[in-house]
Symmetry: C2
Subunit: 211 residues, 2 copies
């Protein structure tokens, strides 16, 4: 009843980082089975654009309902499972705050740095810009770290907000910026040690062999 | 019962663009009254960081519940009002997809261009990078435009997804990129012509005189 799209092939450096990982992780936390639907050349087709306006993955179908944007899909799965979204209105609303914080207040800065490192490292503008981009990342990372303090999770217990924040922090796996933060390093390791993430990651990586 | 924070002062170029506009707009669409709480020097205080981990506005209090991130707040308001979120599960889920699309798939690219224009225009890296940043913006804008087609709104009727997409498209008001798009130009004008936006914008601008 649930299907999730993923790419049949991506370059080596992108494996493990494509956004279907986030949705697979949420489904594993929720204990919901799903079928994987591999997307190859049809990524560029008008038909797939009707499912995903930006020609990306993942798209999730839940019965007749078609959803795009990993953030929206994770929240949709959360509404089916207390493992991701607390049932009390306050806990639910706070998880939603952190979901948007991860994707709108943290990820854009980390993506700027990752794009410099992966796509533009040899370009003059990127060399000039990198220190400023890293400074912005460290500021935001520091603010999340300060909020976290000595807590295990952003709001006391694991929620969809942590799932998305950890997914965003993973973007800088090629640097030591998150790893060496005394709070966020252990936080990220704690989130990624969850069996649900392990299953999601393994399924994601295995899917590239299926093309 | 509802309070929303906004800054007592911001530079001229930022007036009209601070994110409390999005929340004020959502409250006006929903027909919910609110009190404005002006934030000045306390922006940098540890107490305000407990309300807003990034020391920004807006924070909304709804009774005892404290919320941050304009996207999360708009969705919270949407749950109180069909004016923003359709009551049927499919319409609701699709609005959520576009809310995340606006904030995670469109806004980061527009913000990169706006940051170059407003904060780094004279820097060498920014001059070298601007054409590439504009190209990315045009790609994403074009994808939203293609999706919209001849429709008035992204999913047939106005939702929180349109509110956030229009708020994001406004970021490039200093350029003609959105205005000259044959679909998105009229779409943005249509969204901003809504009386609720007019009231929200006026209240936002008036608040700077209250410091």
């Amino acid at each position: 009843m649930i299907t999730v799209t993923s790419f049949v092939w991506v370059p080596e450096f992108a494996r493990g980082q494509v956004r279907d990982v986030r949705v697979r992780w949420a489904l594993e936390e929720a204990g919901l089975a799903y079928d994987n639907r591999l997307i190859g050349e049809e990524q560029a087709s008008p038909a797939y654009r009707l499912e995903q306006p930006f020609a990306q993955v993942p798209v999730m179908h839940d019965g007749k309902l078609g959803l795009f944007e990993s953030g929206a899909i994770v929240m949709h799965i959360g509404e089916k499972s207390e493992a991701l979204l607390p049932r009390d209105p306050e806990g639910r609303a706070r998880a939603m705050c952190w979901a948007f914080a991860a994707l709108n207040s943290v990820e854009p800065f980390l993506m700027q740095l990752a794009e410099i490192d992966f796509f533009h490292a040899d370009e003059e503008w990127a060399k000039l810009r990198r220190p400023g981009a890293e400074e912005m990342v460290r500021k935001r990372i520091g603010e999340v770290s300060a909020w976290l303090g000595e807590s295990d999770y952003l709001e006391g217990r694991f929620t969809a907000g942590d799932l998305l924040m950890a997914s965003v922090l993973r973007i800088l796996d090629h640097t030591d910026i998150v790893k060496t933060d005394p709070r966020l390093g252990p936080y990220l390791a704690r989130c990624l040690a969850r069996p649900a993430f392990g299953r999601a990651y393994a399924a994601h990586m295995a899917s590239f062999g299926e093309g």
